[in-house]
Symmetry: C2
Subunit: 336 residues, 2 copies
């Protein structure tokens, strides 16, 4: 007997169908190899090939001039940007249709100089520098008044949309608040309007008390399997205290973040046998209007299943692994 539960995401109000009795089915899972098998000799992100990746916007380097070897993290403009700083701001309206230039920024954070080093295998102090690069670039992008918000994301593996094996993340700044962030901002705003409290703070407090969905924990950051997880082994990392913006976090919080991110990614990597995954960082829109109710957080989204017409047609994902079960499995992984 199949038993499913419709669960409502407390931030967005969106529903998911958690299948509490699912039996793993081979057709549910992605069959593609994770790696793309790029030739390292042609990889534009490898140390020594700085000119191929383009001039650096930011780098963590031990010394030496810009755009030469000696860096551990390096940020460059995406060579095939989805959003460009040269765009105009005008809306074009034609009957019911509206469009505008793809104005914005699209940057690449090269997370390591070495070709074959996954970010979840970096030492915590190396991972810290990746988070530092995210923070620094967000601080800079925020100064451009044409941008409404930015999202940081990462594609690891073919099924997650990666086009290069060399470990990197991406930062995209938009002239609008993009939909996935906007629905969180709206939902959090409604909760704040109704209760005077941040919904992420309420959620974090409840998860710490409950414990069934906690995966890992530090003094400042908690990792949970979200109540309305959209995919198996989805995990969220949230600061315990109210903090709307990632670009304003302290060095100490970045340190805690590096430690817990490495820990949780190692657990996911073990439990799902080296899956493809996406990372998504959501920080408050640049305007500041949403700061009272918004709370930055990082999503880990393993890409081991695929969406069918059920998801496209209803917008209600079916998740064959409950977050309680995923959290239990992730807690049980022996680390270190």
């Amino acid at each position: 007997m199949v038993t499913t539960e419709l669960r409502r995401d407390p931030i967005t109000g969106r529903s998911v169908l958690i299948d509490l009795t699912a039996q793993p089915h081979p057709h549910d899972f992605v069959l593609e190899p994770v790696r793309l098998d790029d030739a390292p000799a042609e990889c534009p992100f490898c140390e020594g090939r700085e000119a191929d990746a383009g001039p650096e916007l930011l780098a963590w380097r031990e010394g030496g001039p810009a755009n030469t070897p000696g860096w551990s993290v390096r940020v460059v403009a995406n060579r095939r940007p989805m959003l460009r700083i040269e765009g105009g701001q005008d809306r074009r309206v034609e009957g019911v249709f509206e469009s505008r230039d793809g104005l914005g920024a699209h940057e690449v954070v090269i997370e390591t100089p070495m070709h074959d080093q996954a970010v979840h295998r970096l030492d915590a102090d190396r991972l810290w520098r990746v988070l530092w690069a995210w923070r620094t670039r967000l601080q800079d992008l925020k100064r451009d008044a044409r941008f409404a918000a930015a999202v940081v994301f990462k594609n690891h593996g073919r099924a997650a949309g990666a086009r290069l094996d060399h470990s990197h993340s991406q930062i995209a700044a938009y002239p609008i608040v993009p939909a996935a962030l906007d629905e969180k901002v709206r939902g959090a705003g409604e909760h704040y309007g109704r209760t005077g409290r941040c919904v992420f703070c309420d959620l974090t407090a409840q998860e710490l008390t409950d414990g069934r969905r906690t995966v890992s924990d530090t003094l400042s950051i908690i990792a949970i399997a979200p109540f309305a997880s959209r995919v198996p082994f989805e995990a969220w990392l949230l600061p315990r205290d109210h903090a709307p913006r990632f670009e304003e976090v302290s060095d100490a919080t970045l340190e805690a973040m590096a430690v817990i991110l490495k820990d949780v990614m190692a657990r996911v990597d073990w439990a799902l046998e080296r899956p493809a995954y996406n990372l998504v960082l959501h920080t408050a829109p640049f305007s500041g209007d949403a700061d009272a109710g918004f709370h930055w957080h990082l999503e880990i989204i393993p890409r081991v299943t695929r969406w069918s017409g059920l998801e496209w047609g209803s917008g209600v994902p079916r998740n064959p692994v409950s977050p309680e079960e995923a959290a239990r499995a992730l807690r049980a992984v022996a680390i270190g």
Copy 2:
């Protein structure tokens, strides 16, 4: 130089990034084979194995008793339902979390008695019977006052989430209006409130005049590549005249629908070299509250690309093929 355009979907308000200068990139595309290579000898949907699929809720048959061979279309309950009619209606609230039973219905429409016959290769009169089964089952499900809405969908091929090769579609009835339908209902409602007109009617009239995105056409139904297409070669089929509900269409409209659906699917099949795809049918929620502004339609969603962290993080899909270009390519396919 990459040029992208942010386009707003006139129904939902959601944005997409259309890449007007994309060069096809092999890593963009799904590599999986479309077929699952099920053994026909074990297929529960094949003629002669009616007991394996379960008792029929509906069948089009030339004669003979129920649950025996002789049918051309057959509807059964899904053996692993995502939603079940036995569920309760109560909401469970625990702090910020809300859940409820997966109450609803989940049915399978077996579109042909033959194992190796894709729905887009059926004759129009056979395809008519599939649409007739959708209509008839929706009429019945609507009578259950516990259901708020239903969605019909189809998964063709592995990348589209299919679990069986034997051609079938699915009908899911929900105790809520599911998100993907709800955001259309809300958007259409706003347009209706502002203008007194149906946004789908406005859109259809504009596309018929413009012509750049029309793919195919009958007296009663039009096929377009939507202005804010989310994936390459997305296509929508819409009735020309205002019609909120698929379950109320006439036999003649079903006929026109079968003809144009077969035509457009043949074009997509040729242009993308037999892609995996989903079909989604959206009809107004059962309550009738949205009927003035809603308009039934069918989406064809080829699954030849994959979503990355860009889509998960922003909710703004990148589409590397403009709908104008897709429509031109689809119109150019020589059919018949």
